[in-house]
Amino acid sequence: MSRWNKVKWLIITLLVIAVYWWAVTGIDFNLQRIIAGLPKGKVILERIFVKSLKYIGSPFFWEMVMEMLKTLAMAYFGTFIASVLTVPFAFLAAVNFSPYARFFKMLLNFIRTFPEILLAIIFVSMVGPGPFAGVLAIGFHSVGMLGKLYAEAVENIDMKPIEAITAAGGNFWQKLVFGVLPQVFPHFASYSIYRFEIAVRSASTVGLVGAGGIGVPLLLKVQGRNWEQVGVIIIVIIVTVVIVDYLSAYIRKKIV
């Protein structure tokens, strides 16, 4: 190893140590506090996942199931709006259709950088608390993600059938409907269902900032340290998410 290499390695090692030091001191890391907190953690987890079980079937449980259904409706509506709004973006951001693809890809990336929870806070202030704000937050964020996926589907189409439609005298709209949509639509549908899967999870949490859905009672019960009822809500969310994931995977396999 040359002398310069040795110096380089030394510098890198020191820098890495410095970063760790900074991180550990910066967050006030304290092993003792973890150990001291363990019994408390055990009690809470027990209340959330064990003691809560006896509430399954109670009126509160059914109330939360209804809240979850409303949450699913939020996720569905948000995803649906986004799926429709995204279609023009998909073509504008696809290099084989748009001369401004780079610009629109950047725009979609920019939209995606807003965390849903932040969007939810903004929309709650704009339109007031409730599911409508949640739907808007989910819809807006979804456009960012779906736009990118849709655009990739558009970029991957086979242009040859479209050449054939051109040769037969088809115009722009006919090429779109006969040549492009049959190729991209199954992908669009599949991505939207996948996005719905994610939206169900976010719809469950945007309630924490007042944007409707099951997150609202969750927040109230957490604030009241009512861990059994928190547990009921978490179990309802987990079971729903598992079912939605499973169904989504099944349907997507059938489509594409």
């Binding site: 059938p161 054939a164 037969a168 006919q174 006969f178």
Partner: protein, 248 residues
């Protein structure tokens, strides 16, 4: 009638694909175009329906100067020119019938076509063209469920549905096995004779060209180096077209 006068095609990357083509093709002819890969066969037939725009010269198809046509006029010309391709170019996820109806897109109004409101006569005509290529029973099957030979027949039915005066075929049998290739070539020949469709076929198989065409055009490096009857296609001529020739 198709007439090329000093037609030059230069691609945006600077490649000169056609270097001054002069050619006259009369109504009802069956012409095979042969030549090595990259000689300009595809470019030549694609200029006829304006899929490739010419850079210089004059190209007259059905009395129209193709290079001067506006988008709308070009579409009206294209609907009278059927085209089939090496890879069939069907929309795989659509039914056979809907693929064939693509041949009517130049005739029906845009709005009606988008909502799939084809006149009854158009649907019957499309079905009758599937009948002509012997696969009417496949009308409601998805296009990708068909074999290669069947897909090319669907493509021929699509072209026939345009009621074309001219049929362009770009290596129509290059991805088919010999017996299937013969079926497809027989159909092209049949419709050329029965429906008087002027037919231009790009072929890399010289024997097929000899068997089907009454006129063969050999091109090499963007220039016509032979234009004559199959009998005139001697070994010397083939060497002129391909650079070298090995009798099989």
């Amino acid at each position: 009638m198709i007439e090329f006068r000093n037609v030059v095609v230069v691609y945006p990357n600077g490649f000169k694909a056609l270097k001054g083509i002069n050619l006259h093709i009369s109504e009802g002819e069956f012409v095979a175009i042969i030549g090595p890969s990259g000689a300009g066969k595809s470019t030549l037939i694609r200029t006829i329906n304006g899929l490739v725009r010419i850079t210089e010269g004059d190209l007259i198809v059905e009395g129209k100067h193709v290079q001067k046509l506006k988008d709308n006029e070009l579409r009206l010309l294209r609907r009278k020119i059927g085209m089939i391709f090496q890879s069939f170019n069907l929309v795989k996820r659509m039914s056979v019938l809907r693929n064939v109806l693509v041949g009517r897109l130049g005739y029906v109004s845009t709005l009606k076509s988008l909502f799939n409101l084809f006149p009854k006569e158009d649907i019957e005509f499309a079905l009758s063209n599937l009948e002509k290529v012997g696969i009417r029973e496949k009308a409601y099957v998805r296009a990708d469920q068909l074999s290669g030979g069947q897909q090319q027949r669907v493509a021929i039915a699509r072209a026939l549905t345009q009621q074309p005066d001219i049929m362009l075929a770009d290596e129509p049998v290059a991805s088919l096995d010999p017996p299937t290739a013969k079926v497809v070539m027989d159909y092209l020949k049949k419709f050329n004779e029965e429906l008087k469709i002027t037919t231009l076929v790009n072929l890399h198989d010289v024997e097929l060209a000899r068997a089907y065409a009454r006129r063969i055009i050999g091109i090499r490096a963007g220039e016509i180096v032979f234009d004559g009857k199959p009998e005139e296609l001697t070994r010397d001529v083939l060497i002129r077209i391909y650079g070298k020739w090995q009798e099989s």
